[in-house]
């Protein structure tokens, strides 16, 4: 996009869906939530993402149904725009320019109260629905209490009863207070409900006001009966901490957002009906990015104690593999087991995971688990658990690569100075095969940092701080040690295919390449390589270098001195994780600079500094310039097809007539004249519709013009905003009203006649 016209960085998913509370539509069929720079429309029954409303250029900060038309939704964004969408078709209807203030229309922390109040006033002007007003009042309450009680009990959330004069507030100490008679100043009373043991993070009344829902860190949804507070329903073990609770307008569905990027849809009988799960970004990515060789899914640690399998093609979490298999206790300050390392073997039939729990300095609980892929259940089944495989933390782990070899070998290196080889032992009498330690070794008491198998599995390289040792896995002999300029080697990988004689390593300041035939340093360049990734399908390697605040990408072959491709400032910040993912279909690109992307794609995780979105998965993708017009052409073609379908659908009267059983229909002679008439109408209608389509296109153009206008008038945002709100309704309804009229005419003209008779 910048330097190279054909290769650019594409954000490919994994954005937060729990950033703001989601919205359930009036018919409870869809759930809308802000997700990064888009609004996602999910089906509440199938959990599928139906539409992605794209258009914002900044983070979407709020989603709200339009009160006057419940098929439309407003979204606000950090880019300073307010957009109106038709979410059933996924069409952008209107762009409104507003303050950036809209972006923060839901902050509920105590220190932002004043700002929030101003804001809610603006909001209530835009859509005078009871919720917004209630929110405004809630803020007023908060201010009151802030004055009265001081800082000893901080409010975390507030909700207003839809009918009564009652306000519920959640507190940091886990209490919920119900304030009544609030409109009469100084005469209010309150009652306290206490179940949560830590902060109440969200509160919500059902639309009828009969129930109050609350949730917090415990991940338990508590349903309180209004006026019968001793009766409660619980829904425990929902996942991560509950951050938002929303109720559908008809009260039939609840939905909770969780801190592990998950939205749970719950039926009002307190039963989970669907779970929408996004890419879980924990506190840190401890495991490396990996590709599951079978499902081609991206694998990394997600929820505490779980390994997540994330499909990049569909931007959907496939499943979570429970590694730790222990009940997760939601309590802050508790040391839990965490998955820290994982490795797949080449065929994807074995998975090795390491979990650790570090309670005190002296105690380290380590478990090495080996999982076998079960063909029947299509998932991984625990085969062997090795508790305390090493005395200290495991620094690296890798499987022997070749697919054809009979014995599978796993090597783990640890901070205790040893590296161990684990082998699948022959089956015992009763049980199947299990893993046993095959070999233990150390090198001068140095700490091994990483290990790597050569492509054919005949060599194992283990880095002991500054020394690279090369071992033969068949005899476990130390073949050679490779020296290098000072500095600990942090990353190591063997070349592949034609470059398999090279071994590459990185130090803090250098990228090194050894020739294994001569056991000498082939070449070295001075760069700060943070991450070195080898493409499993070609000789290519990608190196991410950190330089003055941004990361540069170099793609090269070990045998060639010149890089195949380089991209300055791929992203800001450091890239710590990256992986090559094989493509499903090979691309045929002849351009030299993009050939390296023919077989596989490169994915990497970034640590963004701005906002608090810790990471975002991005994609490097090959895009042809010539593709764009073709794509447009194709798009138009599709549109036309769709229109055809629409006109087809207008013929539904005939279809119903033909599909209805003959014995329930009136006599043919009776129907004939009307049927013929209806046929005539439909023909004229189709023609009319074509005209409509043209008109619509024109109006779209107009809209674009108006957008441009707005952008030009950015200097006066208030005016533009006002204009937007005014021009909002007519622009929308013009086309629709006409369509509605037409439909009405079409449908009822002959059926009405039928009914009259």
């Amino acid at each position: 996009m910048v330097e190279h016209g054909d290769i650019r960085v594409v954000h490919c998913g994994g954005s937060k869906i729990n950033f703001r509370d989601p919205v359930i539509t009036h018919d409870s069929r869809f759930l809308l939530c802000a997700s990064g720079e888009a609004v996602k429309v999910f089906s509440t029954s199938t959990e599928e993402c139906i539409h992605e409303l794209r258009g914002h250029t900044g983070l979407v900060t709020g989603v709200l149904l339009r009160p006057s038309n419940h098929l439309q939704v407003y979204s606000s964004s950090l880019d300073g725009t307010l957009r109106l969408w038709d979410f059933t078709d996924g069409i952008l209807i209107k762009v409104g320019q507003r303050f950036q203030l809209v972006a923060v229309h839901l902050p509920q922390s105590g220190d932002q109260m004043v700002e929030a109040q101003e804001l809610s006033a603006v909001l209530s002007g835009v859509n005078p629905n009871p919720a917004a007003i209630a929110f405004g009042r809630g803020v007023r309450t908060c201010r009151h209490k802030d004055n009265k009680k001081g800082g000893w009990n901080t409010f975390t959330c507030v909700a207003c009863h839809p009918k009564d004069d009652c306000i519920a507030t959640g507190h940091e100490d886990g209490k919920i207070r119900l304030w009544r008679n609030f409109n009469h100043k100084k005469e209010y009373t309150y009652s306290t409900l206490h179940w949560h043991h830590s902060t109440v993070s969200s509160l919500c009344f059902t639309p009828e006001g009969t129930n109050l829902l609350s949730g917090g860190v415990e991940s338990v949804l508590v349903q309180w009966r209004y006026n019968q507070e001793s009766e409660r329903d619980f829904l425990p073990r929902l996942g991560g901490a509950i951050t938002h609770i929303t109720v559908s307008p008809d009260g039939s569905l609840f939905c909770t957002s969780h801190s592990d990027n998950k939205i749970t849809i719950i039926q009002s009988c307190v039963k989970v009906s669907a779970v929408i799960q996004g890419l879980v970004k924990g506190d840190s990515i401890r495991t490396d990015l990996m590709m599951d060789p079978r499902s081609k899914a991206l694998v990394l640690n997600g929820k505490p104690g779980h390994l997540q399998f994330y499909s990049l093609q569909r931007d959907k979490l496939l499943y979570n593999l429970d590694i730790v298999q222990q009940e997760y206790i939601h309590e802050s300050g508790l040391q839990q087991f965490e998955v820290v390392k994982a490795a797949f073997d080449a065929s994807g039939s074995w998975l090795a995971t390491v979990e650790e729990r570090h309670q005190k300095a002296a105690e380290l609980e380590l478990n090495l688990k080996l999982w076998a892929f079960d063909e029947q259940t299509q998932s991984f089944v625990l085969n062997t658990t090795i508790s305390a495989p090493h005395d200290a933390q495991i620094t690296a782990m890798c499987f022997c690569q070749p697919t054809d070899s009979q014995t599978t070998l796993l090597v783990s290196t640890s901070k205790d100075g040893h590296f161990k080889a684990w082998q699948l032992a022959a089956p015992a009498h009763t049980e199947g095969p299990s893993w046993l330690c095959d070999f233990v070794s150390a090198y001068h008491g140095l700490v091994p940092e990483c290990c790597s198998f050569s492509a054919d599995g005949s060599l194992l390289a283990v880095v002991f701080q500054e020394v690279v040792t090369v071992w033969s896995p068949s005899t476990w002999e130390l073949l050679t040690t490779l020296s290098q300029p000072p500095g600990a080697v942090s990353d190591l990988c063997f070349g592949r295919l034609s470059c398999s004689k090279y071994l590459l390593g990185t130090t803090a300041s250098n990228l090194l390449c050894w020739n294994l035939l001569t056991c000498s340093l082939e070449w070295t360049t001075s760069m700060d390589v943070r991450r070195l990734v080898a493409d499993p399908l070609s000789e290519n390697m990608a190196a991410f270098c950190y330089q003055s605040g941004s990361t540069d990408l170099f793609v090269f072959k070990p045998s060639e001195p010149r890089p195949l491709f380089s991209h300055k400032a791929v992203c800001s910040g450091k890239v710590t994780q990256a992986v090559f993912a094989p493509r499903e279909e090979m691309l045929e690109s002849c351009e030299e600079s993009s050939q390296w992307l023919n077989r596989s794609q490169l994915y990497f995780l970034t640590q963004q500094m701005v906002n608090n979105i810790s990471t975002s998965a991005e994609e490097k993708q090959n895009e042809n310039v010539a593709m764009t017009p073709f794509y447009l052409l194709l798009g138009k073609h599709r549109q036309q097809q769709q229109e055809h379908q629409d006109s087809d659908s207008s013929l539904w009267a005939e279809r119903t007539l033909l599909q209805t059983p003959a014995h329930v229909l009136p006599s043919t002679s009776y129907l004939c004249s009307m049927f013929v008439q209806s046929l005539l109408i439909s023909v004229s209608d189709a023609r009319e519709e074509k005209a409509h389509a043209e008109e619509e296109m024109e109006s779209e153009k107009e809209e674009e013009d108006s957008e441009e206008e707005m952008e030009s008038s950015r200097s006066k945002p208030e005016l533009a905003a006002a204009a937007a709100t005014e021009s909002d309704t007519p622009a929308l309804t013009k086309a629709q009203a006409r369509e509605l009229r037409r439909v009405r005419k079409l449908d009822h003209s002959w059926l009405a006649g039928l009914l009259d008779s």
Partner: protein, 522 residues
């Protein structure tokens, strides 16, 4: 909503012997029948004909037991002094026995009075046997001689005076009427041929020979003496084949399992060991209460009879098919399998609409209590008598789970004297178990922290705390010693390994004993 994940009980590898075909075979015996004899049981011999009665020589009597009788079916009591070596003839009709008074007596099994008396030895006769032609008797005596006697005439045929010490054991060939073997306290085993005047083969065992045994093929000879069991190849002129040293006291008796695949040796160290005769590895081991003097194995291994110095005769009968059926019959009183699968194996028909019923998950009691955060109760449950003694890994797993939840302190606190002493008892019993040490050390530290203010109030708890302190001190000493030994071994290995220029990798060292440290400041 995910279901509650139960506490994970760590599965530890089973220590002890591995289950092999042999252990299954040799464990398939009933509880032993024990019969008190009048003195030390020196010899057991099975009749070669059915019903395979066996003669037990003890003190001045020989008792003949039936295969399943608890009482002797027949007794020979006409001995003036201690009887030795009662043996059946190959037709099971006659029985011969030596005696301390140097007279050899021949009995009819159905009669009572001795048919013949063979006098000629000057000292106690410890060895008697019939030759394979049934008409002669071999005897060996403490007067260093062995003799052949003619049964019909009751006359002495030959005397061999080659041994230079007591003759205490011997065997006649079953295939050749002229061959017999004697073992003596002069450390030699000699093969004699009645057709020549002197021994044919002499084998030096190295220790006083207590027992000899011929293989059914008679190509191999087994001799026992001292702590050794030696196998000789007779066809190669008495070449030693293998020497087994698996007992730590004198081996007194030998027997072959009926198919010749296993060799049994009994010893004064109270063990009977079973060897595989192809590789001469010990495949099984029986323990007995006292030093064993004699061992007999019924044909088809139907029973193992062992005589001990404390004059107890122990008979183990093999479990047969009928017995196991009987046991199965007794167990069938429980609800039948049909009851449990009732309705569950119903195959839905084509038009049936299936209403799925939620599977009720079974949780252990402590898991249910953990689910409700009743941590003290969960610990109490896990410390119940059965779990504590039979499945300590469950108790330890619950303690570990509580520790993970950060509530172990709450669960340990607030216990009375009885509860605390129970807890301390468990910790004392299992603390030095390497599998449980890390968890229990944490718990013990917490207990000391919690209860240090009430130390001195209860003598029971104080005593236990002192025991715990003692235990930990001793364990630390052990660990230190072990580490020292390990260091020494490392040095030895390192020096014995061929030093290659690249062999800087140290020998694999795995510390199997995690060092434990515990502050016992009580």
């Amino acid at each position: 909503m995910a279901s509650f994940k139960p506490t994970k009980i760590q599965v530890y590898p089973k220590l002890g012997e591995k289950v092999t075909q042999d252990t299954l075979y040799w464990k398939n015996y009933k509880a032993p029948v024990q019969i008190k004899e009048f003195g030390a049981v020196t010899s057991i011999d099975f009749s070669p004909v059915t019903p395979h009665n066996f003669a037990v020589t003890a003190f001045t009597r020989i008792h003949i037991y039936g295969p399943f009788s608890q009482e002797p079916v027949k007794s020979f009591t006409r001995f003036k002094d201690t009887a030795y070596c009662g043996r059946f003839r190959s037709d099971g009709q006659l029985l011969v026995a030596g005696c301390e008074d140097s007279v050899v007596r021949l009995f009819d099994v159905s009669g009572k009075v001795a048919l013949r008396l063979f006098k000629g030895h000057t000292k106690a006769v410890h060895l008697t046997d019939f030759t394979s032609d049934r008409y002669q008797i071999l005897t060996g005596s403490d007067d260093y001689t062995c003799r052949l006697w003619d049964i019909p005439n009751a006359t002495e045929l030959t005397t061999y005076t080659e041994h230079t010490d007591y003759i205490r054991c011997g065997v006649t060939s079953k295939l050749n009427r002229d061959l017999f073997i004697t073992g003596s306290y002069d450390h030699t085993v000699k093969l004699f041929d009645a057709r020549v005047e002197k021994s044919v083969i002499t084998m030096d065992h190295g220790q006083p020979v207590e027992s000899v045994l011929l293989y059914p093929s008679e190509g191999l000879l087994v001799s026992a003496g001292g702590r050794h069991v030696k196998v000789w190849d007779l066809l190669k002129g008495g070449q030693p084949l293998v020497s087994l040293k698996n007992h730590h006291k004198t081996v007194t008796s030998l027997a072959l399992s009926s198919n010749g695949q296993r060799l049994l040796s009994a010893s004064l160290d109270r063990h009977v060991k079973v060897y595989n005769t192809t590789n001469y590895k010990v495949v099984h081991n029986f323990d007995y209460a006292a030093s064993i003097l004699s061992l007999g194995l019924a044909p088809d291994d139907a029973s193992i009879v062992v005589g001990m110095t404390n004059s107890i005769l122990s008979i183990k009968h093999r479990k047969n098919q009928e017995d196991s059926k009987e046991i199965a019959g007794q167990q069938r009183r429980r609800p039948s399998y049909r009851v449990f699968v009732k309705g569950k194996n119903y195959v839905p028909k084509q038009d049936d609409y299936l209403v799925s019923k939620p599977v009720k998950e079974h949780l252990a009691k402590y898991d249910k209590q953990l689910q409700r955060f009743n941590v003290s109760k969960a610990l109490d449950t896990a410390l119940g008598t059965y779990i504590r003694f039979r499945k300590p890994e469950i108790t330890v797993a619950v303690i570990k789970e509580l520790d993970r939840r950060g509530t172990l302190k709450n669960a340990l606190a607030g216990r009375d004297e009885r509860g605390l002493s129970q807890l301390l008892n468990f910790i004392i019993g299992n603390l030095v178990d390497a599998r449980f040490t890390p968890v229990l050390v944490t718990a013990a530290e917490m207990i000391l922290d919690i209860y240090q203010s009430v130390i001195g109030q209860s003598p029971v708890v104080d005593r236990q705390l002192l025991r715990l302190q003692d235990l930990v001190k001793r364990e630390i000493e052990f660990q230190k010693d072990l580490l020292e030994v390990l260091g020494m071994l490392d040095t030895m290995f390192a020096s014995s390994l061929p030093r290659k220029e690249s062999a800087s990798a140290s020998a694999p060292t795995v510390d199997p004993f995690p060092t434990c440290s515990l502050n016992t400041d009580s």
